[in-house]
């Protein structure tokens, strides 16, 4: 019991999830339902995939604002390329070059972000702010402001398919979450991620090459953002050039709710999972209760600040006595 309490005080977001879960279960008859839980998982998976990568980048002490653009670019690429005439006779194999191109674009843009941060030493916020605008522009140029529709039906079916009892997209998300959790908690790269964000000078002194290290995390995030773009396109069977707008804000909100510090050095995947689920449950629950969409935003904003205040109160060791 004591251990559970201590765990909750370190991850207050899961206590909060418990709270809203009970609340919505009691307040709305449609909430507590297996089908609805699956909905929440699928709705969460897009933001969730990006949030996994963002957790790595933010523990590093960086940030990436360009993820929304990558989502749109990868969605446009995957939907467009599968319809190219060159691949017309390939059957379902036409998806292979489409998916490869989309993932490659994500990896390349992540690498580019990382390289610029590494070589110029310019703050990641500025670099990726530029990338956010630039990539979005690229998407409009590429699509000529048009929406694309998926030519291959297997692609659209994928988004609504099931593996056993679970929706495929939820499974993809959970598997990725496990992999990133393992990377962060078990590998040398994961330890170095904390070290670089916690005390950059110490990491340099210890001989960690922080430039390439940070680039790897940007690449992982680019890959996951591209993957998220594809799952989104698959759900809609189409892509639009404005896809993924504001996603960077939702992702950062989720990651911060999950306890990752904006300054780096602290955070974990369990928390991030909590962060995305909390947002997913709140949106779903309020939607079922027919709260108007704009009020939902207001409530989410208030909750973000409240949860972080709670976290500060629970974990203010070493700060005792300081007045602000």
């Amino acid at each position: 019991m004591n251990r559970t309490l201590r765990w909750l005080s370190r991850n207050p977001i899961w206590g909060f999830i418990l709270l809203i879960f009970v609340f919505f279960s009691l307040a709305n008859p449609f909430f507590f339902d297996l089908q609805n839980f699956e909905n929440i998982l699928v709705q969460t998976s897009t933001i969730g995939l990006i949030a996994l990568g963002m957790t790595l980048v933010m523990i590093n002490g960086n940030i990436d604002l360009s993820v929304g653009g990558i989502v749109a670019l990868s969605a446009s690429l995957v939907v467009d390329i599968q319809g190219w005439e060159v691949f017309a006779g390939w059957g379902d194999w036409q998806l292979v070059p489409a998916v490869a191109a989309a993932l490659l674009a994500g990896v390349a843009l992540g690498a580019l972000n990382g390289l610029i941060v590494w070589w110029t030493g310019v703050d990641a916020f500025i670099v990726t702010l530029g990338a956010m605008l630039g990539i979005r522009g690229l998407v409009f140029v590429y699509t000529k402001e048009q929406s694309f529709y998926a030519a291959n039906f297997a692609f659209s079916d994928f988004g609504s398919s099931n593996i056993g009892p679970l929706p495929t997209l939820a499974v993809v998300f959970l598997v990725c979450a496990l992999l990133v959790h393992w990377l962060l908690s078990q590998t040398v790269h994961g330890r170095n991620t904390y070290a670089v964000g916690g005390n950059r000078q110490a990491a340099v002194n210890a001989g960690i090459r922080i430039g390439p290290h940070m680039m790897v995390n940007f690449i992982i995030l680019g890959f996951l953002a591209a993957l998220a773009g594809m799952t989104l396109a698959s759900q809609m069977g189409a892509s639009t050039p404005t896809l993924g707008q504001d996603y960077e804000l939702w992702v950062i909100t989720a990651v911060v709710l999950g306890g990752t510090k904006l300054t780096g050095g602290a955070g974990n995947i369990v928390g991030t999972l909590g962060g995305v689920l909390a947002i997913g449950i709140l949106r779903n629950g309020m939607n079922l209760m027919q709260v108007p969409a704009f009020y939902v935003l207001v409530i989410l904003g208030v909750i973000l600040i409240a949860v972080l205040f709670l976290d500060r109160q629970l974990n203010r060791k070493g700060q005792e006595g300081y007045r602000l």
Binding site: Q186, T187, V188, H189, G190, R191, N192, Y194, A195, G198, N199, Q201, A202, A203, V204, N205, A206, G207, I208, R209, G265, A266, G318, E320, G321, Y322, R323
Partner: protein, 504 residues
């Protein structure tokens, strides 16, 4: 000692914009030798060590290791060659465990890039046992005391077979018992044939440990001596270029009324039951190790921290200091420990920095009066002898000594009755240091009540009328200028006096 040195530096030179940090320094260190490196702050010791550790590249000269010329472009390359630097500033990641910190950058791996926790904890367990550390490998470093964090830093050397080990002020925050363990480790390394460079300000340590002593002054090689053939006076002379009794008091003072009277002041576990008084025209020195609670007392008096018990009387009135703004209005000023982080807005010019705390008095309604600001600046430039081309100079471009004078000027402008100076000469060259010491005495003469917090014993002894020794958040002893000696003070702040009292 064998004939061929492990490490040779020849004619090393290094410049930074506006500073010649290292000028034609040559040095050789033999296997099994402890080579002490001395010099005042700013003499170039740290720069030289950073060159050796691969953090800086020399502009001129070359480094040879075991007779072969080497170029170390990064700390990793230096480490691969067997050159290890124990940092003075703790270079630790607070969020990670002791074991992870010790092997940072070199964590043992299993397949798939996983961390090999078993090997890691076993190795670190052995190292901690050897160092007689009372904490476990999985302790979070942020939860350790500063002294224990220093031990973690030291433990890092034992993870590699180092050819050259550089200790940069390793004992600054250690207790005596921990020092003995450290010295044993150094002797072990020495017996194993490592070449050791030992940087310290403490003469006793240098004479206990070292085989030879090299002194740097203003970035130049001032002399290399065999330890057995020299003495403290000669080394001091090489360091400062003249013979100087650093511990001599400047003058006695004539204290006036009681300005500050603190009774039983506590703040959580930071410090407990602290009582003292400060009179007008008097300098009270606070001496102790890092983490002894000195700065925290200053912050409490300045309204930055809320005390948990005790009373403060200021000029006879009981006060509860709610905020820095309140402290300033009462007449209390704090010149903080870290000039660049807490004292100055580095991007602003001299005038704007000096009027920062008195900005309301510089305005007519909402509009600032440039001429009034300039007048204040000129007043303190003259009084404190600040060397700057003019008020437009950005303070980031000034020398450390002049920056510190700007901070002091800013606080004098608030017309305080009590001036608290926390490490007033940290990182300042020796000339400016003497000037600031004179200035502190001058301010006392003109009636200010002054508290000086310092980690440098000569400084405390030189400027104070009374000295208070602190240990682990408690006042251990109070000395008058006449009775205080280095020995007594060291005993008071290292807890020896306490142990003696306990066993008696």
């Amino acid at each position: 000692m064998t004939d061929r040195p492990t490490l040779t530096l020849s004619h090393i030179g290094k410049s930074f914009p506006g500073v010649r940090a290292i000028d034609d320094v040559s040095l050789d260190i033999h296997p099994g030798e402890v080579h002490a490196l001395l010099g005042e702050n700013g003499a170039g010791k740290s720069t030289l060590m950073k060159i050796l550790a691969g953090m800086y590249q020399p502009d001129e000269g070359e480094i040879t290791l075991d007779g072969a010329r080497v170029v170390m472009r990064t700390p990793l390359e230096a480490k691969a060659l067997g050159v290890v630097l124990i940092h003075q500033e703790l270079s630790l990641v607070k969020e990670l465990s002791v074991a992870e910190n010790i092997y940072l950058g070199d964590l043992p791996r299993r397949s798939l890039g996983r961390v090999d926790w078993k090997t890691l904890y076993a190795r670190v367990g052995d190292i901690l046992k050897r160092l007689k550390c009372g904490f476990t490998p999985d302790t979070r470093v942020g939860d350790l005391s500063i002294a224990n964090q220093q031990m973690v830093e030291i433990a890092r050397v034992l993870t590699t077979t180092a050819r050259v080990v550089i200790f940069d002020e390793p004992t600054a925050s250690l207790t005596d018992a921990e020092k003995i363990v450290l010295f044993d480790i150094i002797r072990d390394l020495k017996a194993g044939g490592a070449a050791i460079i030992y940087i310290s300000h403490r003469m006793d340590e240098i004479f206990t440990l070292s085989d030879r002593i090299t002194v740097l002054r203003d970035g130049k090689h001032s002399g290399t001596l065999a330890t057995t053939e020299t003495n403290e006076d000669e080394v001091t002379r090489l360091m400062i270029g003249r013979s100087l009794d650093l511990t001599r008091r400047i003058e006695a003072s004539t204290p006036g009324e009681v300005v500050l009277d603190v009774r039983g002041l506590s703040c959580g576990r930071l410090f407990q039951d602290v009582s003292f008084t400060v009179h007008a025209g008097e300098v009270v020195g606070f001496y102790g190790l890092i983490g002894a609670g000195r700065s925290e007392i200053a912050e409490t008096l300045f309204g930055l921290r809320a005390p948990t018990a005790g009373t403060i009387r200021f000029r006879g009135e009981p006060v509860s200091i709610a905020s820095p703004a309140h402290a300033i209005s009462l007449g209390i000023s704090l010149v903080p420990e870290s000039r660049k982080e807490q004292g100055l807005v580095l991007e602003l010019n001299c005038r704007d920095n000096i009027t920062l705390a008195t900005i309301d008095a510089m305005a007519n309604g909402p509009f600032l009066s440039g001429s009034r600001e300039a007048a204040v600046f000129e007043k303190y430039r003259e009084r404190l002898r600040i060397k700057t081309p003019g008020w437009r100079q950005v303070v980031g471009n000034l020398s450390g000594g002049n920056q510190q004078k700007i901070v002091i000027g800013k606080w004098l402008a608030t017309q305080p009755k009590l001036l608290i100076l926390d490490e007033p000469t940290r990182g300042i060259d020796i000339g400016s240091k003497a000037e600031i010491h004179d200035l502190i005495r001058e301010l006392a003469r003109s009636g200010y009540a002054i508290i000086v917090i310092s980690s440098e014993m000569p400084e405390v002894l030189k400027v104070s009328d009374r000295v208070i020794g602190m240990y682990h958040g408690r006042l251990m002893r109070e000395f008058t200028a006449e009775e205080v000696t280095e020995d007594k003070l060291v005993q008071a702040i290292s807890g020896i006096a306490e142990k003696k009292a306990a066993s008696a």
